[in-house]
Symmetry: C2
Subunit: 167 residues, 2 copies
DNA sequence: TTGAATTTTCAAAAAAAAATGAAAGTTTAG
DNA sequence: CTAAACTTTCATTTTTTTTTGAAAATTCAA
């Protein structure tokens, strides 16, 4: 396979994967492009490479920065901003995990705690509801906990996790 | 909080969560409704409760069945089909994990293997591309492996994982 | 300051995804 | 078989999400 085909394929696939993960396609594509760029890259170049508008590039770059997986770079005597991706995969995965936890798991826990607190009496339906949402709360809380512990190591967490799993 | 409010809130929130995870809202809502239903439920009831069309209900129920987290139930002497959700949360999480792995991680690995196989020579860009996609491949493969190991226990995997993490 | 270079914002347009509903298909009791 | 009961399909419509692009805002060198 040619380099340019490989690059294209990688960017497209990363974009498609992003969509499945609730991240928009362009955001994932910009991320892919930055990951494979050895130097930091201007918005202009990104627009050009991905054939997207300035507004789109600007908004999605900001989102990536908010997620903490892309950084700005200022070059000596230049107005223009340059961007580069977090390239340490451990670090990247931890940041994504933390962000998703904050945005998705924490709010879910809040709701589960709330709805599982209804009085347990009355109908079978109510009892069952309380019971199910309570287990769900416990389960999600436990998972959240596990995730926190796993990424706590920071350095080479995935390797360490694997080691623990083997024994 | 009233039971009916709690139920509403749970279904709505589960639906919203689904969207963030690349699962469509209705599918997640049907799943939520089934999880809190003590008895298996007909399509009619689902349509009624969630205010959705027959076609929508039919398609999303099928998707849930494909994922292996909802089952059909046939009642003695009745034409109508009834549905119920997998209620064992360990089992449910394992099924979701397996399905997502199959649909997302495996194809991603295939692409990463492919694109990281370009010849390593020539420009810095090409070298960097090869290097990045190779690390990415290794990382994702490792994560896939860990996930497989974690869910391998089947019974109470989350509890067991947590125990391993503590030591 | 000023103004050119650059980025951000956001209303409108376009694209993508999801939902509808009626017709077609399937199943089974009689 | 037949027909009623029920489910599935899919072209069309609706809703949601994403993208565009031009105007407004910002930044900084001179």
């Amino acid at each position: 396979m040619e380099f340019s085909d490989a690059k294209q394929k990688f960017i497209q696939s990363w974009g498609a994967l992003g969509s499945q993960w609730g991240i928009n396609k362009t955001m994932a594509q910009i991320h892919a492009f930055l990951m494979i760029s050895p130097e930091s890259v201007s918005m202009e170049e990104i627009m050009d490479e991905l054939k997207i508008s300035r507004g789109n590039a600007s908004m999605n770059l900001r989102a990536l920065i908010d997620w903490g997986i892309v950084y700005k770079d200022y070059k000596q005597g230049e107005r223009r901003e340059y961007f580069y991706a977090e390239k340490d995969l451990d670090e990247m995965a931890i940041k994504i995990s933390r962000e998703r936890t904050k945005r998705e798991i924490k709010p879910a826990l809040k709701v589960l705690k709330e709805v599982s607190s209804i009085p347990a009496n009355k109908t079978t339906k109510e009892k069952h509801f309380k019971q199910q949402t309570t287990s769900l709360y416990k389960f999600v809380a436990k998972a959240d906990n596990a995730l926190e512990k796993i990424t706590e190591y920071n350095d080479n967490w995935l390797g360490k996790l694997l080691k623990k799993l083997i024994t």
